[in-house]
Symmetry: D2
Subunit: 158 residues, 4 copies
Amino acid sequence: MRGVNKVILIGNLGRDPDVQFLEGNIAVAKFSLATTETFKDRAGKLISQTEWHTVVLWRGLAELAQKYLHKGSLVYIEGRLRTRSWEDKEGNKKFATEVVGDNLVMLDKRMDVGNGDHAISHGSGSSTGQQSGPGHHGEGFPGIEIPPMGEAADDLPF
Amino acid sequence: MRGVNKVILIGNLGRDPDVQFLEGNIAVAKFSLATTETFKDRAGKLISQTEWHTVVLWRGLAELAQKYLHKGSLVYIEGRLRTRSWEDKEGNKKFATEVVGDNLVMLDKRMDVGNGDHAISHGSGSSTGQQSGPGHHGEGFPGIEIPPMGEAADDLPF
Amino acid sequence: MRGVNKVILIGNLGRDPDVQFLEGNIAVAKFSLATTETFKDRAGKLISQTEWHTVVLWRGLAELAQKYLHKGSLVYIEGRLRTRSWEDKEGNKKFATEVVGDNLVMLDKRMDVGNGDHAISHGSGSSTGQQSGPGHHGEGFPGIEIPPMGEAADDLPF
Amino acid sequence: MRGVNKVILIGNLGRDPDVQFLEGNIAVAKFSLATTETFKDRAGKLISQTEWHTVVLWRGLAELAQKYLHKGSLVYIEGRLRTRSWEDKEGNKKFATEVVGDNLVMLDKRMDVGNGDHAISHGSGSSTGQQSGPGHHGEGFPGIEIPPMGEAADDLPF
DNA sequence: TTTT
DNA sequence: TTTT
């Protein structure tokens, strides 16, 4: 990688998520998210400003959105920007920038997830899906983010 | 700047904030914040892992913490890492790493702030405190983040 | 604020910045930024994927862009998403999502800035521009992010 | 997950990385990273402030650090905070806060990596290590972050 | 349209 | 202990 493309949002869903299933039973969720920032201008007047984002979630995260998110839900979304372009029937060039989420935290329901993919059967059978996101580890083979620092600290010469 | 030092936390306060006032009536708040990440290990077992952070807030943010935060509050904190070192009475070198917050969003109370400094009398009188953080603007002199894009869009040759 | 709207990008400028000056001599810079991520797919093949973003900078940051950035420059941009909509002459609804930057770090030139606004004469004369961004402090009145922790540590009862 | 614990740093290595191999041939790299922020105080004087962080990398990222990083290297690190505590021989309680990195971008060498783990043989054989980080996809089974938006866009009813 |  |  020679780049970073990261978005962090906290806001409320404008509507229930729109969830579709593609071939292979792959879930895709889409919803609008409003992030509202309030501040005082120089005159001391409270100003509120809302920005709307299109959020897209895939697979496990999409299924979680379907199960747990609804209009008004407060969520934390971490993801990356993706701009798609196409031409409509009249031949007009169209652009849409979306936030493709790879982490989701539900902030009003006391429930949440890491990279939801880990909870989903991959179909490919042997997949063990070790994602980064929050941090995952294995049994005999601890993952990257949760190294055996506790027990194995003695092995560390630092 | 040739560097970036940024921390983003969402978690719960372990205790009520400890708020002190220094000379000049400058507020400083300090509290422990627990960030808990849950995930499945390779065996599919749900693992929960909590990390504790020391958060320090100054001035307006400290006063907001005093007013609105308490043990258990769920907050979003954005700030930077700061490590202090000193020697205790026995001459042992001690280190403490803290997160100095410059943005705070309260996630269970439906109330929150940008860079709290803007809401606070600066004592220096003329202070006009134009902060970045969330975005602020003035009257005759619009701020950086909230440019007159709406009205002035026609002026923009892009 | 009841929301967070944050974008972090590292990438290269596709062209020299386009800088304009609005009424009041306010600078606005605009440029395309490519963020490229490379990774291996499941077959082990190296995949490179580039996303293009429109970055907008105001005032001091715009002037810095004009002075120091050019086609190919590698930069770190921190900002927020802003979607504008309008109708073109044919009455087609158009959308454009931009990243309004409030922090900039130049990564190939060994020079960089915080929230550039502080380094720029505001014309309004009295401006004292205390921004958050990196951290600023004053003389008799230290700022939020750089509290007198060093000297004043003894005052702190923590 | 009911929490977020995220750190983003850009800075220079103070020394060459210290790389160790644990049982199972698991690499661990450790180094100090200096993040320097420069700004003007209220008097207009340029102030430079350096913070030192301890960064820990595991497995693939550690091996990349060993191969490509050295004293002075400029890097982007994304990770999470982890505080360890122990007692030294005199029975003094000690704390150390580290940044456990799960993404690394080299900014002076024109070379870089995603979550390096994907490039590393896991030894456990069957591991397929699909991490989030930058975004990964497969052949017949596209990953989360790089969905077949291009081709499959027609399948999307949005 | 960038970069490696 | 880095870097500009």
